[in-house]
């Protein structure tokens, strides 16, 4: 993982979707200095690579306030792990709390922003990210439902469509919800969208993409955000 984002290959003529790193960097642009931010595991964690030069406090659900980057062989501290249970470092000024205080911080509205991944996001802010089936396999929920209802803002970062090309932005979620009416903004490899009172509002699009092309890959009506 490097801070220099590799260009993703163009899929349609002239269209250059953002790579995961570029989408993460695009999201990071919108985080002001001073915010306390919780990043979900996987794709959201990439965001932490792109806030260099600004003091942003990263919170980890297991009780870390002031989490730094992933640990290396030189900086390893076995007693420090992130939500994905990878070893991490702390920044100066960091603090540690127990789980009830960590989730008090989350549920009590003290986190400025939470960034999570999702399987589906609906035009009213419903989203699904914790299980693809309530009957098959072993469900696991972790802290997603607490983060979804507790953070001041919930932004989703995900691919615009599933691996087989189906839209992940929908009128209504088909999968079991993580929380109703929780998402405020979505960053994908194709666009940045707000969840407005009338549904998805496009703030930004990948280079070369038209509204028509974006609409064709989206399962709910799009409108441009009024500036």
């Amino acid at each position: 993982m490097t801070a220099t984002a590799a260009r993703a290959p163009a899929t349609a003529e002239g269209v250059k979707p953002w790579s995961r790193a570029q989408a993460a960097a695009r999201l990071a642009q919108d985080i002001p200095e001073g915010w306390c931010v919780n990043l979900g595991i996987g794709f959201p964690l990439l965001v932490s690579n792109f806030v260099k030069g600004r003091e942003v406090i990263f919170q980890s659900e297991n009780g870390i306030i002031g989490m730094g980057g992933l640990a290396t062989a030189e900086t390893i501290e076995p007693w420090l792990v992130n939500a994905g249970k990878q070893n991490v470092n702390l920044v100066k000024g960091a603090s540690i709390v127990h789980h009830a205080d960590s989730f008090g911080m989350i549920r009590g509205g003290h986190i400025d922003l939470c960034v999570l991944g999702a399987f589906e996001v609906a035009a009213d802010g419903d989203f699904a990210n914790w299980t693809t089936s309530l009957t098959d396999g072993v469900p696991a929920v972790g802290g997603a439902m607490d983060l979804a209802v507790g953070a001041k803002r919930l932004w989703i970062i995900m691919d615009h469509t599933s691996k087989d090309g189906r839209p992940k932005l929908l009128e209504r979620c088909d999968l079991p919800l993580t929380a109703p009416k929780a998402v405020t903004r979505v960053y994908t490899n194709l666009a940045v969208l707000d969840v407005g009172p009338q549904g998805f509002e496009v703030l930004d699009m990948a280079p070369g993409l038209t509204m028509e092309e974006l609409q064709a890959k989206t399962g709910a009506p799009l409108r441009r955000k009024a500036s």
């Binding site: 297991n62 992933l70 249970k85 789980h99 309530l134 972790g142």
Partner: protein, 233 residues
């Protein structure tokens, strides 16, 4: 003289009854009292209800061996599925292990509430989801909340970094996690500690868990959790 130190893990685990509810600390391997769980396997109590964040991975770690030995009836847990959680998956699919899946913050607060003498509370988490099924909903100031009940335990298994003979404890970094709230929520709190220190060595402002919440302490200087360096970003 107050002295909660015991000489062996076997002594620490004495008296745990069949059918007990047993909490265990840890977020994955960090702050997880694996040696006490090993002791629980040896001790023999069965028909247990476990309360913890994870359900273990692989086939070797004590938590997994306790499950595999058929000693656990039910687990109350937020994230039982992880890379290599094969034993949990097998037992759950075979209908031999009941799961109560609880959002992580709700799990923490249900444990905290028990220790603080609060029988139940309202929380916004999981309202409008499948995990709200069967729960009382209450609207307060225009927002919906679920009624969640406290989880008390017969036994809490805790991993500390330092302990003294009164049972005053400190935890190392993110090894704190569920340990302090579980120590408060059980009738019998058993601690495995990396280090034993003299009374007074832990400054009063630095005690994370006062000994009042602790019944037994055993010295287990195993060194610390295995590291988990990310190989890719």
């Amino acid at each position: 003289m107050i002295d909660k130190r015991v000489k062996s893990i076997a002594e620490a685990m004495q008296g745990i009854k069949d059918g007990s509810t047993v909490m265990f600390g840890g977020f994955g391997a960090v702050g997880h009292p694996a040696h006490l769980i090993d002791g629980l396997i040896e001790q023999g109590a069965k028909d247990l209800t476990l309360v913890g964040n994870n359900a273990g991975s692989g086939r070797v770690e004590p938590l997994v061996r306790l499950l595999a030995a058929g000693r656990v009836r039910k687990i109350i847990c937020s994230f039982p599925r992880s890379a290599g959680s094969v034993v949990f998956d097998e037992l759950h699919k075979a209908g031999r292990l009941e799961l109560e899946l609880v959002p992580q913050g709700t799990l923490a607060e249900r444990i905290r509430a028990a220790g603080a003498g609060i029988p139940a509370f309202y929380t916004p988490t999981a309202y409008g989801t499948a995990l709200a099924e069967g729960k009382e909903v209450r609207e307060i100031n225009g927002r919906h909340y679920l009624l969640e009940h406290a989880i008390r335990a017969d036994v809490a298994l805790v991993e500390a970094y330092q302990a003294d003979r009164w049972g005053n404890l400190t935890y190392k970094l993110s090894g704190r996690n569920f340990n302090p709230i579980m120590a408060m929520a059980a009738s019998l709190t058993i601690v495995q500690s990396q280090h034993m220190v003299e009374l007074g060595d832990i400054g009063p402002e630095d005690v994370h868990t006062p000994g009042v919440f602790v019944q037994r302490v055993v010295h287990v200087p195993y060194g610390g959790p295995a590291s988990n360096l990310a190989t890719t970003g």
